[in-house]
Assembly symmetry: C2
Homo-oligomer: 102 residues x 2
DNA sequence: TTAGTATATGTCAGATCTGATATAGTGTCA
DNA sequence: TGACACTATATCAGATCTGACATATACTAA
């Protein structure tokens, strides 16, 4: 119940505190969501900067268009592992993660 | 063959370029390793700052001492997911990850 | 309207991860 | 020396993830 709501709310511009209180998240749960959101937003940004469709990105990353879509919509079946591996494959380095989390 | 070597080499103070060339890593593989190293070093640092033994940390994180050890030694069976979830459970927030990757 | 392109959603078998357990190694103290 | 605390390593059943596929939805152009 929690997870599906979160992205929509964040995207709708709700303040963190408000979302956290509304969904009764612990600090750790909230931090984890912020990290996830930062990563999937970064991924979509990079893909679009490189003018790739999800299908093209899928080929590069040796996965399927559907998983790319799930990554960008914050689907709970997508792990931080997959997002980070995808980001570095598209060219992100350690330094870029500083910006991603800033 | 690659993965086991990496931590030791990095810990021994080798420069990134050198390790990367020696192990014939792609940029993406190298970036991923740098991210992993940053995370498991950060985890150990936080655990020690909080004066927790691996056993105590394991209880907090609802896992086992052996997995904590694997996390800190960069065992390949440990995912970025687990490391990031553990870090936020010990109190790290998005902002802390800026420092971790800097 | 239809066709074409891009993205989103549902499902699942096979791959990978994880907590748990056992055990080994290391350091310290008496 | 032995006992104890801490950490490292090996193994594996059950849990979770992932690529692939099917299908749906959204948008554009003719």
């Amino acid at each position: 119940m929690k997870k599906e709501k979160i992205k929509r709310l964040k995207d709708a511009g709700w303040k963190t505190g408000t979302v956290q209180e509304f969904l009764e998240l612990t600090d750790a749960e909230n931090a984890l969501i912020e990290v996830r959101v930062a990563l999937f937003e970064a991924f979509q940004k990079i893909r679009k900067e490189q003018r790739l469709t999800q299908k093209q990105a899928a080929k590069l990353l040796k996965t399927s268009q559907s998983r790319i879509s799930k990554m960008e919509t914050g689907d709970p079946s997508v792990t931080l592992d997959l997002m980070i591996r995808s980001l570095v494959t598209l060219g992100a380095n350690k330094k870029d993660f500083v910006r991603i989390f800033k």
